[in-house]
């Protein structure tokens, strides 16, 4: 009872404050207002308060799930009532509720017999069951609104919503954190809308929200996100709780790896967050591990055994940087990074158009070879026209089947953003609207990629599904363009302008992922304010530096390769074993299928055959992704209908392992005449020497003392040649199957 009284007193205070605001609208109370605890909505339940359809009622529909995708917010609506998803279109919602079916949902004479009241309170049959209690404040608001004539009554627009806290560091998991949400309107008024803001943890197992009090309690330590939604605004709240109880000291680290001053932002940002989270870093990787890692990452190959020996013997302190430079300038780099970008661009997905695939791939390889800036590559691609059998990048417009798909592909590729959600409704978690989606589609529809010769058709149009009229070409989130001209130049200028906030970030984030095993934004094609980067400052710095250095892929790759974070060991400590995104240790990366296939061939020194390609062709050099290959069938392929960024390439693990045991991939090649094993045996090497040679070839290191002890128990120098051959074959098989081999670590 006592509590209730205090609430009432507070509500009177709020009403006074509110009235004061109305009287003196020029005086802003924002700061004071938000710093006091004021019970929300107390004023609006007063029957004299004029209910505003958009700002008062839509949030109710959102809060109680009425306009969610599973209910009336679905594209087809439900039970003949169709609301816009999360209230994206209040006018349409008003029409649906008030006007549709001759207004039968509203009863102005007997307001409490309106269907809009009877249904959600389950006084009459409602497919969604009871979602509101009759004595709920929301019902009161709805009733008052109907009593007032069920008018739209929206005179102000939402400017922004301020959520507090924006970022919360939590030491005590038991603590309840009060979440608050203040709406700022165009007429200068503000309102505490905490009650009507929907707070949803991204992962419900990490944070529990008490919806009646709008408080949050962390369930598991780490960094977690809550999304706060009010009207069209969706805002992320970051919750961080240290993983360990005692502070850690990451300052006194082994810095042998870093020579260049450029790395400081990378490492300082990473160490800063690790300190907040109290996660200690693992040791630096040794030279052999670094050599294998960076050679695989930059060239898609294992280091050759002689190179391993030479690198380990090299005493020069700058040897890692020299290595990185050499790799970046190598032919192998060109070949491998052409493949990486070809997957991203889905080269080869052009409906079996092998001539187009060939010229596109060759063109891309030329760009990489010549070190052409990524902005220029993008410009050439977007502006391309002409015969797709001769002009490589013209095949860009033959990659997808429609302008809409092309818009989705392009936004994911160059902006790292999923515009696709905005096809049928405004993006529920981002700013993208249907105008953006169909506006970009309208630009791309003017390029006709249906025929071999890609041509511009300035008159081509697309229909906006919501307005049923011609969609106006539009640069997403930016501006409308003239309707009957080719808008691509403006689009690419916008994309590659220095202050574009998507383009550079999208690509450096992908480079970061290729090197570090995880994007700063993940998934890499899902940039949005509600999916913030783990390290926003670092991402911004990488992008800025990339732009400043001529959009040079090699430059940024080198910067990452020379950071301490990149050079850390994959071996975890008990205190950082659960870290999969803060880079306290290096992340293991599965070798891509093509790289693994080549690595197996290299270790065995037995080439594999790919389709009709000449013997010795490497898997990473294949241009046609569908080239016949048993090895790739087993290890996985990237069919270029998607950009293969979601690890879908690998085949069923069971099938693969069955094949490794009993199939031909390894068994038919391990002991083959002329292969590495056969050559070593024939040259009279001792078994333990053969072991060393294979360790060097497969794992780029020497066996450890323990490993030698283990192998000595199984390899008998005096056994018969046949039995020795069998043991060695089994040894080689296990080296090619073990985790250390199939991973980049």
């Amino acid at each position: 009872m006592k509590k209730r009284q205090s609430v009432e007193i507070m509500s009177i205070l709020t009403t006074i404050l509110f009235v004061y605001c109305l009287v003196l609208p020029n005086i802003s109370f924002a700061d004071e207002y938000s710093s006091h605890i004021v019970p929300s909505q107390a004023n609006t339940s007063d029957s004299t308060y004029v209910v505003d359809f958009e700002n008062d009622l839509i949030p109710i529909f959102t809060k109680f799930g009425c306009n969610a995708g599973a209910c009336h917010g679905s594209a087809a609506g439900r039970g003949e009532l169709n609301l816009s998803l999360f209230g994206g279109n209040p006018q349409a919602d008003y029409q649906a509720i008030v006007r549709q079916f001759s207004g039968r949902r509203i009863n102005l004479i007997y307001p409490d017999e309106s269907l809009v009241i009877l249904k959600p309170t389950a006084q009459t049959k409602h497919g969604g069951g009871q979602v509101l209690n009759e004595n709920e404040e929301a019902v009161e608001l709805l009733l008052n609104w109907i009593k007032q004539g069920a008018r739209f009554n929206t005179q102000r627009e939402l400017d922004r919503v301020e959520i507090t806290p924006k970022k919360q560091i939590i030491q005590d998991l038991e603590a309840s954190i009060q979440l608050r949400s203040i709406a700022y309107f165009s007429d200068g008024t503000t309102k505490d809308v905490t009650r009507w803001t929907v707070f949803t943890p991204e992962d419900t197992s990490t944070i529990k929200i008490d919806t009646t009090t709008s408080t949050a309690k962390m369930v598991r330590p780490g960094r977690h996100i809550i999304l706060a939604r009010y009207l069209t605004e969706v805002i992320p709240i970051e919750f961080i709780s240290p993983l360990n109880t005692t502070p850690i000291d990451n300052t006194n680290l082994d810095r042998t790896s870093s020579q260049s001053g450029n790395t400081t932002v990378i490492d300082s940002e990473i160490l800063k967050l690790l300190a907040t989270l109290r996660i200690p870093v693992s040791a630096a990787a040794d030279d052999a591990t670094f050599l294998r890692r960076v050679t695989l990452d930059l060239t898609g190959r294992l280091p050759v055994p002689d190179h391993v020996t030479a690198f380990l013997a090299d005493k020069d302190l700058t040897k890692r940087e020299r290595l990185v430079d050499t790799l970046l300038q190598s032919e192998e780099f060109n070949q491998y990074w052409t493949l990486q970008l070809a997957k991203l661009l889905r080269i080869g997905g052009q409906n079996g158009n092998s001539q187009g695939t060939l010229v596109y791939h060759r063109w891309l390889e030329q760009q990489i070879q010549n070190g052409v800036g990524y902005d220029q590559i993008t410009r050439s691609i977007i502006m391309a026209v002409g015969d797709s059998h001769q002009v490589g990048p013209a095949n860009f417009y033959r990659t997808t089947k429609s302008a809409g798909e092309q818009a989705e592909f392009m936004s994911e590729l160059f902006m790292g953003a999923r515009l696709r959600c905005a096809n049928c409704h405004n993006h529920p978690l981002d700013k993208w609207t249907q105008d953006d989606y169909h506006g970009l589609t309208a630009i791309l529809a003017k390029v006709n990629g249906n025929d071999q010769v890609v041509k511009v058709k300035p008159k081509a149009e697309v229909i906006h599904p919501a307005t049923r009229e011609t969609a106006i070409p539009r640069i997403p989130g930016d501006r409308y363009l003239a309707s009957d001209v080719d808008g691509r130049a403006e689009l690419v200028d916008w994309l590659t302008s220095v202050d574009n906030s998507y383009f550079a970030k999208a690509i450096v984030n992908r480079l970061w992922k290729a090197m570090m095993g995880r994007g700063l934004v993940e998934p890499v094609d899902d940039f949005r304010s509600t999916n913030p980067a783990t390290h926003p400052v670092l991402l911004a710095d990488l992008a800025k530096d990339f732009v400043k250095n001529g959009y040079d892929l090699r430059h940024t790759l080198k910067r990452i390769a020379m950071s301490d974070a990149y050079a850390r060991s994959v071996n975890t400590l008990p205190e950082n074993v659960n870290d999969d995104r803060f880079y306290s240790h290096a992340l293991k990366k599965q070798l891509p299928p093509e790289v693994l296939a080549d690595a197996i061939s290299d270790v065995l020194n037995v080439p594999d055959l790919y389709g009709d390609e000449p013997e010795g062709t490497r898997a990473v050099a294949l241009i046609d992704p569908d080239t016949e290959s048993e090895a790739l069938d087993i290890l996985g392929r990237c069919v270029r209908e998607s950009s293969c960024e979601t690890a879908n390439a690998s085949t069923d693990g069971l099938k693969r392992k069955l094949h490794l045991f009993n199939g031909e991939l390894l068994n038919a090649r391990i002991g083959v005449i002329g292969g590495r094993l056969d050559t070593l045996i024939e040259s009279g090497k001792f078994p333990m020497e053969i072991l060393d040679a294979f360790y060097l070839a497969a794992l780029s290191r020497n066996p450890t003392v323990e490993e030698r002890v283990f192998w000595k128990q199984h390899i008998d120098d005096y056994a018969s040649a046949a039995s020795q051959q069998r043991v060695l074959e089994d040894m080689v098989w296990s080296l090619l199957t073990c985790n250390e081999f199939v991973m980049n670590h």
Binding site: E202, V639, N739
Partner: protein, 456 residues
């Protein structure tokens, strides 16, 4: 054919997230969060432990199977006669005469209806319960069952019972639909025969299950010992103890070396009479596929899809009965033998109560015979057959109109069917699973209604 590739070019985003779960990021606990109890599910008891889906690929004619129309003009009723069953008043196609004698164990829904009359779309709708959309790939029944069961096992920290994969397709899975949808690739059906391999009639040769020439169990065991030792060495410096294990390698090894699991594929273990009862002939050997399905279910496999192709009968519908005089192995007689033998065999072994058997395809066929004596695609009404696993036999649910054009009574959508199948298998249709981008998706679509009459 690569099952991740489809001719309509819909880009398939494979939403794999589960693999990377850790204490920091995502949790599994809430995959089971059931947000709203489905009002229809309460009193129904789930009995089915496993399911055999006999998929008649191409779209079987309802008029020539479970919903004949003997009293209609020739161009509708077609060339085949009808036959009475052991349930008074129920008639089915003359070619299903043995199945007719098990009608007391069978329920037929004659009022299935869907708007999707194209193979790929229809297959996706019937196999997932969701109408296809380019935005999301839905998992097929077998994948959902596999996923939910494996989560339950993890929760009770039990181990998988069998060395066999939990979701198996005999001889292979249809290429029209991604088996796993947004669920992990490990839930996708394991094909007994790789698509590339030539199948011999009635023979199942699981790829890479037999030793490579020159290898034996001792060599494999030594190889496994070596690789495990190497994995242990490389993870010794790591605090993460779980990184040692290679679960897929162990599964593969167990499958190869478990005589019991491997033996499941060896049909010659069965008495000749049994094999003959199922039938060894027929295109794609549906008899032996069904026999294998029974052997797999018997060994604890939760979901087996028997994929039987060739039901896209645009020409000469009579060939379903016989392709030449004295032909005993046309599609209908083969199906009849296999299906009746399966139901009887499961019943004799007291397995029928816990094994749900479903016979269906992606749609029905046009009521009117076309100019080539065949029938074209017709999704507006068609039939689905169910037996065992808690299904009350001897009943017909719903009906089609006089000419078999549209549902007359109690239309049932593929979504409704999915809610029903999940409920029979003990999975709440409103159970929410999550895609990689965190979108909650019910196992059966919202609004799908369980066909409660089916339940015992």
């Amino acid at each position: 054919m690569d099952i991740t590739k489809r001719c309509d070019g819909i880009s398939r985003r494979n939403f794999l997230r589960v693999g990377g779960l850790t204490a920091l990021g995502l949790g599994l606990g809430n995959f089971f969060l059931i947000q709203r109890a489905n009002a229809n599910t309460n009193p129904l008891t789930a009995k089915a432990k496993s399911c055999i889906l006999i998929w008649l690929d191409g779209g079987p004619s309802h008029l020539e199977t479970f919903d004949p129309k003997p009293d209609t003009p020739q161009e509708v009723r077609g060339p085949l006669n009808t036959i009475s069953t052991n349930i008074t008043g129920v008639r089915i196609s003359e070619c299903l005469d043995q199945t007719a004698q098990t009608m007391d164990k069978i329920a037929i829904i004659r009022s299935m209806t869907s708007p999707l009359g194209e193979h790929s779309l229809g297959t996706q709708y019937l196999m997932t319960g969701y109408k296809p959309t380019p935005a999301l790939e839905y998992p097929t029944y077998g994948a959902t069952v596999t996923y939910v069961r494996s989560q339950n096992i993890k929760d009770s920290s039990g181990e998988s019972l069998s060395a066999l994969p939990p979701n198996i397709a005999v001889p292979n899975f249809t290429g029209e639909v991604s088996g796993n949808g947004y669920l992990p690739i490990s839930t996708t059906p394991f094909s007994v025969v790789g698509n590339s391999e030539k199948e011999k009639r009635g023979q199942f040769k699981v790829r890479d299950l037999d030793f490579y020439q020159g290898l034996d169990i001792d060599r494999l065991s030594r190889r496994r010992q070596f690789v495990n030792a190497l994995n242990e060495f490389s993870s010794a410096k790591d605090a993460d103890t779980e990184s040692v294990a290679d679960p897929e390698l162990e599964r593969a090894y167990n499958l190869i070396t478990s005589p019991e699991a491997k033996g499941a594929f060896n049909l010659s273990d069965e008495h000749r009479d049994v094999r003959n009862r199922y039938g060894s002939g027929g295109v794609n050997g549906i008899g032996h596929s069904c026999l294998l399905a029974r052997r797999l279910v018997e060994r604890g496999v939760p979901f087996v899809t028997v994929n039987h192709t060739g039901w896209d009968t645009h020409q000469n519908i009579f060939q379903l009965k016989e392709r030449y005089p004295t032909d005993r192995n046309a599609h209908l007689p083969s199906l009849d033998r296999a299906l009746s033998a399966l139901i009887q065999d499961l019943s004799d072994r007291r397995m029928l109560d816990e094994t749900l058997v479903i016979v269906m395809g992606e749609f029905g066929r046009t009521p009117k015979i076309n100019s080539q004596g065949g029938r074209d695609h017709w999704p507006n009404v068609f039939s689905v057959m169910l037996a065992g696993g808690g299904v009350q036999g001897g009943q017909i649910i719903g009906s089609s109109d006089t000419l078999g054009e549209f549902p007359k009574e109690r239309p049932v959508t593929p979504s409704d069917l999915s809610a029903t199948i999940y409920t029979l298998l003990g999975i709440d249709p409103s159970l929410e699973l999550h895609t990689s981008d965190g979108r909650p998706v019910r196992v059966a679509p919202d609004g799908a209604k369980v066909v409660t009459e089916l339940f015992v």
